[in-house]
């Protein structure tokens, strides 16, 4: 037995599979073979829980087959061919389902952790602002009264000097508060110049694993670079939430999510980067569209979604001084369009004409 099997697929799982395969193949009783298949499904889920990679599930089967063959060398293959495959398929299907659920949970955990972090930072900022407000009032009284008191003391007296010190100390405290506020703001909101195309591509790799297999996720940027001022985690959260939402809108049929990035400059306005996330799912009626960014509004079943995803996106886009719109019709998919202020990178200012244009005319950028 090789090392990797030892470390990843525990021996007892490997033994159990070999046993149930024998059961499934040799069972005289249909109930017993049914039980073996149920156990195979359970085993598939356990393999995911033990983080056994998919390749090793095949090895497990292979190893069990060899054991079966050596234990029963006279079994004719033609007689057992169908029986051998059933437990593998059963284990494989349960494995895939459990794996997808695991990946979904992880993607959700990443999104939630980010959300939690941004909430915490916002709370720190709010707390800092509240403290600053009260401190400034207190300092205002200290500073003001010390100035007033100086009217009542003889000039060049020791008292005057003491008041002078009180005032100096007050100014130091004022500057300290200003620094604390700046720091809290920077912690909560630290935008940098970031390149969207690469960041989105990276984010979509993460999203892809949490989408159902029959949902295709395509990234079709019309530019090679698009610069905006944002925190990378803000963009990741926007993209993840929109894609998870799009994936949920594609309910039964195979579907497709298209993510696009292009440059856009409305006549007479500042240049924008336009991010689109489009699905060919259920679509929404007007009523749902109007409420889609409301906090806690959801069309998902209870427990399937918080209803916060799109309102978080809406909030983030607002923070980035961008705009978001939705266009949709029942039965013909949904498209979210986000416009963010574009940074003109040095030496890259003339990228208004994208190098590649293969979109239908209706989707092209408005003439500038």
């Amino acid at each position: 037995m090789n090392d990797s099997t030892d470390s990843n697929a525990p021996q007892d799982l490997s033994d159990r599979y070999a046993e149930l395969l024998q059961c499934a193949v040799l069972a005289k009783d249909p109930l017993a073979s049914e039980a073996a298949l149920a156990e195979a499904a359970d085993l598939g889920r356990r393999l995911v829980a033990h983080e056994v990679p998919l390749e090793e599930v095949g090895e497990l089967h292979h190893e069990a087959l060899i054991r079966l063959a050596s234990a029963h060398p006279d079994l004719p293959l033609s007689q057992i061919a169908g029986l051998i495959t059933a437990p593998l398929m059963e284990a494989y299907m349960a494995y895939s389902l459990a794996l997808r659920e695991q990946l979904e949970r992880r993607a959700e955990a990443i999104v939630n952790a980010r959300l939690e972090q941004s909430r915490r930072l916002e709370a720190i900022g709010t707390l800092a602002a509240g403290i600053a407000h009260d401190f400034n009032n207190i300092l205002g009284a200290i500073l003001g009264f010390s100035e007033l008191l100086s009217d009542e003391l003889p000039p060049a007296s020791a008292g005057q000097q003491h008041l002078e010190f009180i005032q100096q100390a007050s100014f130091r405290a004022r500057d300290l508060i200003a620094r604390m506020l700046t720091f809290a703001r920077e912690m909560a909101d630290d935008p940098t110049e970031i390149e969207l195309v690469a960041l989105i591509r990276e984010t979509l790799d993460l999203v892809r694993v949490s989408l159902p297999h029959d949902v295709q996720l395509d990234f079709e940027p019309l530019v090679s670079e698009a610069w905006v001022l944002a925190e990378p985690s803000q963009i990741q959260q926007i993209v993840m939430n929109l894609c998870i939402n799009a994936g949920a809108a594609i309910s039964s049929t195979p579907g497709r999510i298209q993510v696009g990035v292009r440059l856009h400059t409305p006549a007479g306005l500042a240049p924008l980067v336009r991010l689109t996330v489009e699905d060919d799912g259920e679509g929404m009626n007007q009523e749902v569209q109007e409420r889609v960014f409301d906090p806690f509004f959801t069309t998902k079943e209870p427990g399937k979604g918080s209803g916060l995803g799109l309102s978080v996106v809406h909030g983030l886009v607002g923070k980035l001084r961008g705009s978001i719109s939705v266009s949709s019709e029942p039965g013909s998919g949904t498209r979210f369009t986000i416009d963010l202020p574009r940074l003109q990178q040095e030496g890259k200012a003339s990228e208004d004409a994208p190098p590649i244009r293969h979109t239908p005319p209706s989707q092209q950028e408005t003439p500038e």
Partner: protein, 131 residues
Amino acid sequence: MSKILIVDDDEIFRTMMAEMVRREGYEIEAVSNGQEALEYIQRERPLLIITDILMPEMDGIEFIMKLNQDGNNIPIIAVSGGRRSISLEFNLESAALMGVQTTLPKPFTREALRAAIDQALEHSPPSSGLR
């Protein structure tokens, strides 16, 4: 002589500000929120209003909004210890957006207050005739 109306919920700060303004040679009236300020203005027209922003009952922004609705031409100085922040609280920027021309962050020196009063009174529209 009409008075300078001081609106601030922080009693110690209000007392300090009132004394400072009085020593600049003005008569003052001090109240602790926007509602009381409106009631005073209905009885008497102040020369100038110095108002805090964050106050219970009626905050400075609502107070300024109500004054504007009535076609205010009394000069206003907005004072606040709040700063531009990521929180959604009103601050001096909000007051500036409401048309207040003179803003003064807390804490301030006597000199800064003097300058703000002079500036606000200079910008003041003619006090007689128009509404």
